[in-house]
Amino acid sequence: MSAAFDQKIHETLADPKLQLAIYKATGRLVEERRKAIEPDLCPDYQELRTHANAIKRHTIEHLDHYLEEFSRQVEAHGGKVVFCKDAEEVSDFVLSLAKERRAELIVKSKSMTTEEIDLNERLEHHHLESVETDLGEYIIQLAHERPYHIVAPALHKTREQVADLLTERLGVPRETVIEKQTMIARAVLREKFLAADIGVSGANFLVADSGAVVIVENEGNARLTTSAPKIHIAVAGIEKLIPRAQDLAVFLKLLGRSATGQRLTVYTSFLSGPKREDEIDGPDEFYVVLLDNGRTKVLADRDKRQSLYCIRCGACLNHCPVYRKIGGHSFPWVYSGPIGAILTPQFLGVRHEPGLPFASSLCGACAEVCPVKIDIPRILLELRSEVKKAEARDGAGRLERLAFRIWAWVMRHPRMYEMAGMAAASLAPSNGDGWIRNAPFNAGPLRAWLSQRDLPPAAAKSFRQMWRER
């Protein structure tokens, strides 16, 4: 793995306050989900997962068809669809629209897709003010940081740190009471909502038969973002499609419960097109930006395209014992946790962070809780194989490759295996029956093992020796 990855992990592990914050936050989400899917409350939970997986599989396998149907429906309701192949095309579109409409202020609701393409940075570079309105996103925008978690972006921030931020960036008197901090943000953002020219949102789902954008939230900022300004732009990856509005019966039930243990989030918006002529309020213009940015690459891989089923609930993060130790900022890209570990190499290439697919014990907790049944461990195993193939091509990792070649040879020759075992036993340090703290020779893996725990002493006799002596 890269030194940067190693370093970030180490720093996170060395920070006890941060460790506690991550553990508590994810622990709470784990518990809330568990309560929400208890058999008497949600008896059809497993059935819903199977169904959701089947719908996503069908949609992804026929994605072109559903993209076209979606486009037609959006346009039938007075909206426009903009296909963008990458980050630059999205910002070009937003900038040119803003220029045409003389827009200066944009309000944004939470969208991992817009984080993925650094939309705010690009807009600010061109002197457009783009304000995050989800409380957690607003905080990290003030801090110039990336989201820490898909659902809880400011999970790592204490109230003291939030107080510092608000005072530094807004000039308000220092306030450490959380409710009051929230009200400060509310007041600032309220003004922004009412003054904004454009509202940019994400989309949890795109509904093909309705040309609709579905957004779930608890605060109300997405509703305000999509209802107050005269222009609404929804930015979404092409994989967000589902065939029918009726499919929401399955997906909404799974999303709320998996993410936060809620049956439904406070607000679920189903938006199709600008305000109808006789409606009183709503935007005059409605755009849906459909983003590729590497999704078609993932799509091309038959075994791994299931990575695109993800509905961004965050359950895999919450249940991952590795994420719960290393946190969101150790990950090299905007998506963290198990889903981040499989998306990052597929989008950015396995060489971007070759250690990433290995940063897992393959425990399978993620696959167990994934509402759309993505087989994350299986994909990690495939990616590991791809990393090793890339290393072979690049001439890297020669020593390890050689070690495994020798190992395989030994394992195919039982006599050699036995001799190797006996040799290791005679060389290995012994401590009677006690376990070993230090070894006289401390080669790489041995040193790594011993840095954390003791080593078992080699058995005086192997099993096969004991078997023969029976």
Binding site: S361, E400, R453
Partner: protein, 241 residues
């Protein structure tokens, strides 16, 4: 004629924890099975497979297919090795029809130790006795890939003198994960320590699991922490009298 069971003892038990293998043999023989040990056996290939070296894993898996070709039943005192054989051999031999067929045959015959007792031997009481307060660690492969959860608990429930206390983090990974334990040693160690906190909270004197790799990880961490709690493989508990 007593049914014949072939033991795949696994390389880690063979070299580091042979008593686990002997205990498994003892329990199986006590239940009337004839145990054989194909001496040509070595490893299932998992270390290579999990580290991304599929070709090397394939070679070792092929050797395994040969060694156990004639087995009626293959019993394995490890969830992760059983899972490798029962689920991943198919991935390895995907492009080789003959080996794939053999792997599929094998899949039907291979059993993790506790599952063999419950489903084939159809016993829950093996006549064991152990006066200890124990807690059970659900090893990840056994739990999530083999769906082994209740079986071991039922077996432990019949051990005279044994009190089983559940830890709150029973299903959490111990942090071993093969080469993960050395490539990401700090994280692995952290995971072990979290697990140990949960173990300590039960007041148990012994941690039981059906995977020696987990036990090695946990015992290593317990020992480093200076805690007197010991680890035992399920087979060792069931062999106790």
């Amino acid at each position: 004629m007593a049914a014949r069971v072939s033991l795949f003892v696994t390389c880690i038990v063979d070299q580091l924890f042979p008593r686990v293998g002997m205990a498994a043999v003892e329990v199986l023989e006590r239940l009337g099975f004839r145990v054989d040990f194909p001496e040509q056996q070595t490893c299932c290939g998992q270390p290579a497979f999990n580290t991304g070296y599929r070709e090397e894993a394939r070679q070792v898996a092929q050797h395994f297919l040969k060694v156990f070709a004639d087995a009626d039943y293959i019993v394995v005192p490890s969830g992760s090795c059983t899972s490798m054989i029962a689920h991943h051999f198919e991935d390895i031999f995907e492009e080789e029809p003959e080996n794939l067929r053999r792997a599929r045959d094998l899949e039907m015959k291979v059993y993790e130790f506790s599952r063999f007792l419950i489903e084939v031997a159809q016993v829950e009481d093996v006549g064991a006795r152990l006066d200890e307060v124990v807690t059970f660690h659900d090893s990840c492969h056994a739990l999530r890939e083999l769906q082994v959860k209740e079986g071991p608990r039922r077996l432990l429930g019949h051990v005279r003198g044994l009190e089983l206390r559940e830890m709150d983090a029973a299903e959490e990974c111990c942090g071993f994960g093969g080469t993960f334990s050395v490539k990401f040693a700090e994280v692995s160690g952290g995971m072990a320590r979290t697990k140990i906190d949960s173990i300590v909270r039960t007041g148990a004197s012994t941690v039981v699991s059906l995977d020696s790799s987990c036990l090695m990880q946990l015992q290593g961490a317990l020992s480093r922490a200076g805690l007197p709690i010991r680890t035992m493989h399920l087979a060792e508990v069931l062999a106790s009298r």
